[in-house]
Amino acid sequence: MAETTIELRNPSGLHARPAATFVKAATGFKSDIRVTNLTRDADKSAAAKSMLGVLGLGVSHGHTIRITAEGEDADEAVKTLGEMVKAGLGEAIGG
């Protein structure tokens, strides 16, 4: 199992547009990928391929999330998704 932990820096949190970018990217992998919002509830995780699941984690600016993956492309999935979140998922994020 691969995993990574990152802080979300998007000013408006993981709202519809960045969440859509994230979910679409996750759907491209074969592995079972899950996301947890450690800041809000470390015991609740959601499928990364579910838009509603990801939105339902309520990830706001400054929250820390954990991405875990299990499957043949798990390492690559975690690495790619982690980098995308770090880069702002297509949104401008302040330094």
Partner: protein, 564 residues
Amino acid sequence: MKASLRGVAAAPGVARARIWRLPERSSEGAGSQVDLEEAAERAASELESLRERLRAGGREEESEIFGAQALMAQDPELIGAAQEAIEQGTSAEQAIRDAGESAATTLAALDDELLAARAADVRDVAARIARILRGEQPPRLEERSIAVALDLPPSITAELDPALLAGIALEAGSRTAHAAILSRALGIPAVVGARGLLEAARNAHDIAVDGTSGELFLDPDDQTLAEIERRSAEASDLAAADAALRDRPLQTADGHRVMLAANIGQPEDSKRAIEGGAEGVGLFRTEFMFMGRATAPDEATQTGAYARVLEAFGERPVVIRLIDLGGDKDLPYLPLPHEENPFLGVRALRLADAGHEELLLTQLRAILAAGDHTGRQPWIMAPMVADLSDVYRLHELVALAAFGRTVGVQPKVGIMVEIPSVAMVAELVAPEVAFFSIGTNDLTQYMLAADRTNPGLAERQDPLHPAVLRAIARVIEGGHAAGIPVAVCGEMAGDPAGAMALTGLGIDELSMDAGAFGAVKRALAGASLGDLRGAAEHALHAESAKDVRAIFESMRAPEREAVG
């Protein structure tokens, strides 16, 4: 001419056309021709093509709503939950509605406004899939029409042919509802929040929408229509005159500049303010985040909201006002004892010494974090400051909030001048703060002992009263002696006569709703600084607010001529 109904003006302009109503759900329908999975797929592809259509039309921002909805329509969790219910014997249509409702409830419960707003989108997606399951087509306009409904979900609004949609009239909704945003984007008039509309329109054929005044007319006669059109033309002349002034700074006839800032109530107001030519935000009211919820918004939620505004305004200053909450607001997480006189009671900064220090500290931490995240300097403004002790308490709170964290971008800390006592000692306080912003609404109510909430005292509520002007003059003098800027962020700043008086008194900045920019620019452009100074001097010795108003009104060019 009497309006049939009145609502909120959501998109300007006037139109008359046939009424188009949202088709009611037919009870028998064509029946389930497709299974859930196929219906969901079709819904997703409908949504994708809507998205493409809006994108091609340059409506990038709205198109994102449908992009997100397309993903929801194929969401494995949503479809999975519905499939399970179907296996238990629930009908496919009911199952998808239930699954949508349950997902919507989860989202609505989040203490993040932006995400909670997606709840409506999920319900909308479920309704779309249900419609496909019933074998029904998306709603269509047959002729030029005005849509009359309780509310219009975004997907239906976008589905309607813009060439045939002449206007929108809704019983529910607000200025920020999807349908309202869409109508402004399409340039068609809209009135929302018109209570009783559906009942009143039940037997009507035609409707006229005046999206400038917020009025609706059912089956209007030609004379009524001509009158509405005349008024609308006038309004659009004024709007055109405002637009022409957009890039002109706020200045007097002889070129004396006054900074023009906007009052905003939520991050979404930023765009309109910037488009209107705001040089900054003079008052960001933060109460919106605190109302109508069970718990106080956490630091992260607040940081997001503040960061969005700081980001939007870039180099331009943004003044964030600390919450002005008190006994007049009934909030579950802020239990305050009942007060006879909440406006003279425990509110705003005074909460810190009434057991609610943490509420203010969380807000201050969020502002500091927003400054760091965006690299922009936030201006922090405290309301309800009475004297120097309150100023020191404010600095202490800011220091407490910064304790244990590295603050990369130091905020500017200033005060709202609204309690007469602080106006009286302005020169003592000024060296201890970075700016003054005069809240003329409360300053007036406190100085004149005239309750703002009592309509019977409206005439005694005029900030142009010579006593209030003297207090303002004193604050400006005290501020300038210490070298700090002095602004006004009350209604007075957006009132042409008020703006003229303030300019004559030497104000540095006027902050108002973006809707008032044009009128205030025209008012100042019509007089020289010398004339305004003379008139202000005269006003300090006048008998009443009425007389002061007469002095400044007489200096103004008639609006109509100035426009023509």
